[in-house]
């Protein structure tokens, strides 16, 4: 059924269709309508789940961890300060190998207070052992939640996943979304049947103390899980396509990159706008393309190497910044390319922090800059875009 809905409702429908059994959540702008909708689904009986009204995001994740350990499929949603408050228990969820799925409505961190989009909150969780999917449309949000359960619950993976939805730009924007039939989702995503769970009668301690002589082997296994997630993401998406007729681009979506001289690589909703820019520049005969990092964890190193070896210039637009370094995605891209025999010129653009709009015009200027840099080289490797006081980039 096609329906007009916000990204937040798409998240709520994703969790409902996946038959989440325990939902523990705490309200934060702009995530609230996700949990309001889920609370409504539970109260009307449309979703057979337990809604745990916790007193903080930390408790939301801790409750999900406990419930998931007991074999329940769990879901939660948060944003910015809520996500960063969870940081400790995010690590716990992955270390405990629990395939929890969560929506993060990506929002800037304070101060300055801001309820608007950027990716600082999500990027700051990149080392927590969670799969991270950046979405560009509400349809993708809904579909990725369903896929994420299937990916994460598979035996070789057993790690949690974060579905990242840009604050307001997706969370509060209404778009047509196809709501799949429950029966089709049920056939695609069977009930959660973990290999291990906490049960009375089985006196086992979950998450116990491990000495240095054994700790690394557990971490190594988590690494293998994340590594296995790469192929699993691709496989599950192909299965999804067979059932629902849609796909979203694997780990790295390429848009009109064939014969492109320069490519802009980015993540999240800005990629959707950039596709329009690519179309318009291509129609004028300018050979540009777009690469969208859909999975930030696991990072698509191989895909980026393959792309990098066939383009002359690769710009990276980060909607976050790692102070003292560069955009996190840029650093990852550069690291991927270092050992390639043939490498493109790269440059990092920091844009759209705290909800600053990234317009088609800005993206076009970024493309022009990449072209220029590719031709004549550039001294500045990282550039902040659309910042008042920086005349080159200001309006």
């Amino acid at each position: 059924m096609r329906s007009l809905m916000t990204g937040n409702y798409a998240s709520a429908y994703g969790a409902k269709l996946s038959r989440a059994e325990v939902i523990a959540a705490y309200p934060i702008t702009p995530q609230t309508s996700i949990v309001e909708k889920l609370a409504e689904f539970v109260s009307t009986g449309e979703l057979n789940a337990k809604f745990v009204p916790v007193e903080s995001e930390h408790s939301a994740m801790a409750a999900c961890i406990a419930a998931e350990t007991a074999g329940a499929r769990t879901y939660t949603a948060t944003s910015s300060h809520g996500l960063t408050l969870m940081h400790e228990v995010l690590m716990w969820a992955s270390g405990a190998r629990l395939p929890i799925v969560m929506t993060n409505v990506s929002r800037a961190m304070a101060p300055p207070w801001s309820v608007w989009v950027d990716h600082m909150d999500s990027i700051a969780q990149r080392d927590t052992g969670w799969l991270q999917f950046f979405c560009q449309s509400n349809q993708e949000v809904l579909d990725t939640i369903i896929m994420a359960y299937k990916i994460c619950e598979s035996k070789g993976v057993m790690l949690p996943a974060m579905i990242i939805e840009d604050a307001f730009i997706l969370s509060h924007t209404s778009e047509p979304v196809d709501i799949p039939d429950q029966e089709m989702v049920d056939s695609f995503l069977p009930a959660y049947a973990p290999e291990f769970k906490i049960e009375v009668g089985k006196p086992m301690g979950f998450g116990s103390l491990v000495k240095p002589d054994q700790y690394m082997e557990f971490r190594y296994k988590a690494m293998l899980g994340m590594k296995a997630a790469h192929d699993r993401i691709l496989r599950v998406e192909q299965e999804f396509k067979q059932v629902f007729g849609r796909e979203h681009g694997g780990l790295l979506e390429l848009y009109r990159c064939e014969n492109a001289e320069v490519v802009l690589l980015t993540a999240g909703s800005v990629a959707a706008t950039a596709k329009d820019v690519v179309d318009s520049m291509r129609s004028k005969g300018v050979p540009v393309g777009l690469a969208r990092v859909r999975a930030f964890r696991p990072f698509p190193h191989d895909e980026i190497r393959a792309l990098g070896s066939r383009v002359a210039g690769l710009g990276v637009l980060d909607r976050s910044y790692t102070f003292g370094a560069a955009g996190a995605m840029f650093s990852e891209v550069k690291a991927s390319l270092y050992n390639c025999p043939k490498r493109p010129v790269t440059k990092n653009y920091i844009a759209g922090l705290g909800g600053r709009d990234i317009t088609p015009k800005t993206i076009e200027r970024v493309f022009e800059d990449i072209q220029l840099v590719t031709k004549r080289g550039e001294e500045s490797e990282v550039e902040w875009v659309d910042v008042a006081g920086l005349p080159r980039w200001w309006r």
């Binding site: 702008t29 608007w116 449309s137 924007t173 909703s269 800005v270 706008t273 329009d276 088609p360």
Partner: protein
């Protein structure tokens, strides 16, 4: 049926009563662009008190159209001649149909009827059906308000 849409509010933290802005795009192909709208084809003003103090027509394309909720019998004056104006007494219509309260009628559906008249791209029947399906309460009252609004919307010279 046949248009793609994308609708979003300006994402503010304003409390009840403060002016708010919302945007919509309508297209016959899927809409990907996520940035704000700076050069609209149409502007819809739900509360004419905004005509004082807020540049509601900022960015409107030349010959772009504005629909303004404006009381009958008062003349709309002193507006930019580059644009076309449509007026509609949505407040009275909504109140007459019992939508919202008498002191604070909810004008949205009446304005939607007016928008159909102004834009010439959406059929009235499609709009009325959409209102019928989506109005949370008083479906028929909303439908008849939109219908009346459609009929009473008229273009004026500023």
């Amino acid at each position: 049926m046949g248009f793609e849409v994308s609708a979003f509010p300006f994402f503010g933290v304003e409390r009840r009563g403060a002016p708010v802005t919302a945007y919509a795009r309508i297209d016959d192909k899927p809409i990907r662009i996520k940035s704000s709208i700076y050069e609209p084809d149409y502007v819809v003003v739900l509360d004419n008190s905004l005509l004082r103090g807020v540049d509601v027509l900022e960015g409107l394309k030349p010959q772009g159209r504005a629909l303004i909720n404006y009381p009958d019998g008062r003349k709309l004056e002193g507006l930019d001649k580059r644009f076309r104006y449509f007026v509609l007494d949505a407040t009275s219509i909504a109140a007459a149909h019992g939508i919202g309260s008498q002191t604070a009628p909810i004008v949205n559906t009446a304005m939607m009827g007016g928008f159909v008249k102004m834009c010439d791209i959406i059929s009235l029947d499609a709009m009325l059906e959409s209102i019928r399906q989506n109005a949370p309460v008083k479906e028929e009252e909303n439908v008849s308000a939109a219908k009346e609004a459609y009929e009473r919307t008229k273009e004026v010279q500023p």
